[in-house]
């Protein structure tokens, strides 16, 4: 197994609690992440992402590789940030991997975040091992993005596991209604 070097990675960390922000910043830096930019809430993060797009020199980074964001923040929370990143025309990269951190662990909350297009969900309180696993999962197990009339985000099926309900995926790569974009 290869030892990863995250020196050329830029992670945007969005967390309103100074204590947790500082903990995550330290952790990511110790994990070897080259650049970690921090913001206090979603509004700051959106401004920063726009700056990266419009003036990378001033932003100090060429691109953001992963966003790690808390959910519950004010005035702009993590879900609003995620919606902006995935759907807004000014978003610099609608495919950017997004890890949502949250004290909300109720299944309907996790479902809501999944439907908005998160890549990973990190439940608070978290462990260092969990942070590490989420970052590794983004690097090692990326998913194709799916765009339909009512969803845009990483494929919500991580594995081809059989399920009991009706098969709702009736289209395949070969169907004329499907377009596969490679890059």
């Amino acid at each position: 197994m290869v030892e990863y070097n995250l020196d050329r990675f830029c992670i945007l960390l969005v967390e309103d609690s100074a204590f947790i922000r500082s903990l995550l910043l330290n952790t990511l830096q110790l994990m070897g992440v080259g650049i970690v930019k921090t913001c206090d809430d979603g509004a700051q993060a959106i401004d920063f992402l726009k700056l990266v797009q419009n003036d990378p020199m001033k932003a100090g980074v060429q691109q953001v590789d992963i966003i790690i964001s808390n959910w519950s923040m004010s005035p702009v929370d993590g879900m609003m940030l995620l919606r902006w990143v995935r759907r807004h025309k000014e978003s610099p990269d609608r495919f950017i991997p997004f890890v949502m951190i949250s004290g909300y662990s109720e299944p309907e909350r996790v479902h809501e975040a999944r439907e908005m297009g998160i890549n990973e969900f990190l439940t608070k309180p978290f462990t260092m091992a969990a942070v590490y696993q989420k970052v590794l999962s983004i690097i090692d197990r990326p998913r194709q993005f799916v765009h339909t009339a009512n969803y845009f985000g990483p494929d919500r099926r991580r594995q081809a596991v059989p399920h009991k309900g009706a098969e709702r995926r009736v289209l395949t790569d070969k169907s004329p209604e499907v377009e596969v974009v490679r890059g």
């Binding site: 197994m1 290869v2 110790l30 993005f145 490679r182």
Partner: protein, 170 residues
């Protein structure tokens, strides 16, 4: 006449995994890991920060105490104070466990459940809130980390007893 092309209903985007190449070097295909000594350093940093956690969280406990006092002094505004407590409890339940105080998370989670938007506003309900705040304060002032052993179990039992007692009166 040529048949009209069906409208595209689904797009799949499959991109080359550039993050993997950047982390593991050009051409790297398999999985990877972050060196163990780096993770050990991250864990050590967390433990160091955990030493500061009780001091830091004490500010939130003082804020909870203040909000509880306001619930007692100004009963007609309880709903607004409950909202404040609910928000603080949400933060606390997400933090305690990370810093080695799962009991803070457990108490805060219960407090969070007792201060939702439709929670009762009776005096007895305010007593239940006080029992939670008192419990969290004991966990922190006595540095009851982990599950707290017998002391931790006694605290949780005390909270359950207070909830039972005041709920029966409510």
């Amino acid at each position: 006449m040529a048949e009209a092309k069906p409208k595209i209903r689904v797009r799949f985007y499959r991109f080359q995994n550039r993050l993997k190449e950047r982390a593991g070097g050009a051409g790297h295909k398999g999985t990877g890991e972050i060196p163990a000594e780096i993770l050990a350093k991250a864990q050590a940093a967390l433990e160091e920060m955990a030493e500061d956690y009780p001091d830091w969280v004490m500010r939130l406990i003082k804020e909870l105490t203040e909000q509880h006092r306001r619930c007692v002094d100004t009963p007609e505004r309880r709903r607004a104070f409950f909202e404040q407590i609910h928000a603080i409890a949400h933060d606390m339940k997400g933090q305690g466990g990370t810093f080695g105080y799962p009991l803070v998370s457990a108490f805060a989670e219960s407090l969070y459940d007792f201060t939702h938007g439709r929670a009762s506003l009776t005096d007895n309900h305010v007593e239940i809130i006080k029992a939670h705040v008192d419990g969290i304060r004991v966990v922190i002032t006595q540095r009851i980390s982990g599950d707290g052993g017998e002391a931790g179990q006694a605290l949780l039992a005390g909270l359950q007893e207070a909830i039972r007692k005041y709920k029966s009166k409510a």
